[in-house]
Amino acid sequence: MKRSHRKNRNAVNAASLARWIVVTAFLALAGLSYVYLTLQLYHLGERKKSVENELISLRTQNDVASVQIAALTSRSALQRRLKEGYLKMIPISERDIVRLTVPARQADENAIQPVVNEPTTR
């Protein structure tokens, strides 16, 4: 009885089992890694997209600000502010200008002596 019982027992091949465990573990790990990396890829894609959107948004804000600056500092805007009295400009009179260079004179300059009209008023 004892003998036959012993005879029916299946022997476990430890080496084979270990091999299978390693292969299975490797395949499982590979599968999990694949899933993890794929998810990471999607996650990074989303992150990339969001950074891109952020960048576009910042560029847009920058452009809008540049346009506003250009509009506020334009000739017509400054002219308008001048008319509204927000700005005041006083012309510098000729006698207040000090010149450091002596103008060159040409010999024949006085061939015809021009005249000048008085500053006209409109």
Binding site: L41, Y42, L44, G45, E46, K48, K49, I56, R59, T60, D63, V64, S66, V67, A70, A71, T73, S74, R75, S76, A77, Q79, E94, R99, T101, P103, Q106, E109, A111, I112, Q113, P114, V115, V116, N117, E118, P119, T120, R122
Partner: protein, 587 residues
């Protein structure tokens, strides 16, 4: 197993084999033979080519002040196949964008995948709409980045800058002529969408980055342009002319420093502008120049050594019958030197100068001064003007053309001709574009001055310049064009307006003044033209009295801005009223 069972088993096996073989063949057919076709269909469904728009280049003045710029806007589009709740989308988008819901519903009531709902939606409005769509989980509406052109200075320099159409192609002014540089090159990217229309970033395909448009730097100085614009507005208020043009140009380089026309329009409201307001009259309007053209006859005579500046010519005491037709002077002159013919603006004298060089030679000088051909400025639509060859001239043409009749020239051609005198006889091509750079300032192209030809010798140009200085003196016709502290050289012009039905219109004149300052070392050449100026003293409707003072005011302010040093000794002033009485001339 009996034979019967075995055969049944074999039959079942055969059926399975046949079935799976059929499946296998079908699979191979779909996956291998039909691969490209079905892959294409799948890609068509999920992959599309996204255009990445290039930013149009900016236009700047000589001091890097912005003249034309882009403002970011968005184009709202819909993919009808992605709409998950049409009614809610129509309500929300219609209300936010101010589109009648019926109209929007009709637009979206299709299965089209690309429907433009609205262009040029401001960034803030698009952001708000995007947030609301997300909050209500509505799908199928997308936003494309775009830009619209904005002109910070409104109507200033409008004819030079020009504008673009809604597809951002320049259709007038520098926007059109520099289209190649301003437009840039759009990029693209192949992207794949998931079921709900979101991009699957890892599946991005081929991509090409856009190349933004280059920056175009003009030669125009906005400060000088501002001076000119203020003066032309003042002239419009005072004289109510039908049209007016003022040009400032640097004679040595041909750089246009300022160019203004009236009527004009606001570039930001271009859809409201009338065609008449959109014309750059400096390059597309023809006029009979009147006496400013006398410089050509004088230059021809002096350059051909037919006469000297002090050679005298009998001016027939104000009335000369030539070819059976009378030619008048505004005053009776007996003998005038060549110089005085310009100073006094004698028609008879100018006619005799042209006669002394002959028709063919005179015509040659007209062409050498650049009349009858485009100047080559970088602006679209420039015309040649009308200069007929001598074989088409009548018997009296040789006496009428020297005083600026029977020809058609543009204001720019007249300015360029005067610049040739200021520039020692060298005819320079006028330029409006100074350089082209990338957005970060790297030079792409820098345009150098182009000397077209030597029209006259420097000596002849100097002699003409001397005479033109006399024009702006108490002896000349344009004393009112003088500027305190500076010597000015210039020439007045008063031409009767041509009647489109033939002949000339009575009492209607094109008055002009063209001159340069300082006469000894010209920094700029200017031209003022007023077409049909209205004045309460019609007897004083002359170039010297209307265009001259405008030039004077512009030149004075420009000289101050350019920091030109005034001559202390040139301070003596004579009242304009006296000038008007003593020198009034229709020439």
């Amino acid at each position: 197993m009996n034979p019967n069972s075995r055969s049944r088993c074999a039959l079942v096996c055969c059926v399975f084999i046949a079935l799976f073989s059929a499946f296998s063949f079908r699979l191979i057919y779909l996956q291998v033979i039909k691969h490209d076709e079905y892959a294409g269909l799948a890609a068509e469904k999920h992959v599309y080519k996204q255009t990445i728009y290039a930013e149009r280049g900016t236009i700047l003045d000589a001091n890097n002040d912005v003249l034309a710029h882009n403002v970011p806007v968005e184009t709202v589009v819909a993919d009808a196949t992605h709409l998950n709740d049409r009614e809610a989308v129509v309500d929300l988008v219609g209300n936010e964008l101010g589109i009648p819901t019926g109209q929007l519903a009709e637009k979206l009531n299709s299965e089209r995948r690309y429907i433009v709902i609205k262009r040029e939606v401001p960034e803030s409005l698009a952001t708000a709409l995007r947030a609301k769509l997300r909050a209500r989980n509505l799908r199928g509406i997308y936003f494309e980045n775009d830009a619209t052109r904005i002109y910070p200075n409104g109507s200033m320099l409008c004819h030079v800058i020009g504008f673009t159409d809604f597809e951002h192609h320049g259709i007038q002014g520098v926007e059109a002529s520099m289209e190649e540089y301003l437009h840039g090159q759009d990029g693209y990217r192949y992207v794949e969408h998931n079921r709900v229309g979101q991009e699957i970033v890892p599946y991005r395909g081929q991509e090409r980055a856009p190349r933004n448009g280059y920056q175009v730097h003009l030669t125009v100085d906005l400060n000088l342009q501002n001076i000119v614009e203020n003066e032309i507005d003042a002239a419009i208020d005072e004289y109510r002319p039908k049209k007016a043009t003022i040009i400032l140009m640097r004679p040595q380089t041909g750089e246009i420093l300022a160019m203004a026309n009236r009527p004009n329009f606001d570039l930001n409201l271009r859809s409201e502008a009338k065609p008449e307001e959109m014309k750059n009259r400096a390059i597309i309007d023809m006029m009979e120049p009147g006496s400013t053209f006398k410089i050509v006859a004088a230059a021809a005579v002096l350059n051909e050594h037919k006469l000297r500046p002090d050679s005298t010519i009998f001016c027939e005491n104000g009335l000369w019958n030539f070819g059976g037709v009378a030619l008048h002077d505004h005053r009776a002159f007996s003998y005038l030197s060549v110089r005085d013919i310009l100073i006094k603006s004698s028609n008879i004298g100018a006619a005799k100068l042209a006669l002394s060089v002959g028709e063919q030679k005179f015509y040659e000088y007209i062409r050498r001064f650049g009349f009858g051909e485009r100047t080559g400025i970088e602006l679209p639509g420039e015309i040649n003007g009308v200069i007929r060859p001598p074989r088409s001239w009548s018997k009296i043409s040789i006496t009428r053309i020297p005083m600026g009749h029977e020809i058609g020239v543009t204001p720019l051609q007249m300015t360029v001709a005067m610049a040739a005198i200021a520039n020692g006889g060298r005819l320079v091509m006028p330029r409006i574009v100074k350089s082209i750079t990338t957005a970060d300032g790297k030079a792409i192209s820098s345009l150098s001055p182009v000397v077209l030809r030597q029209v006259t010798s420097p000596e002849t140009a100097r002699q003409i310049g001397d005479a033109l200085r006399g024009v702006v003196s108490d002896r000349g016709t344009a004393a009112a064009a003088a500027v305190p502290g500076f010597t000015i050289a210039g020439k007045t012009g008063t031409a009767q307006k041509v009647d489109p039905n033939g002949g000339y219109e009575q009492g209607k004149y094109v008055v002009s003044f063209s001159g340069y300052l300082p006469a000894e070392r010209p920094e700029f050449v200017g031209l003022v033209v007023l077409d049909d100026a209205q004045t309460n003293k019609p007897e004083l409707n002359y170039g010297g009295l209307i265009a001259g003072p405008i030039f004077s005011r512009i030149a004075e302010k420009a000289a101050r801005y350019l920091d030109l040093e005034p001559h202390e000794e040139i301070r003596k002033a004579i009242p304009v009223e006296r000038v008007a009485l003593t020198n009034a001339s229709r020439h």
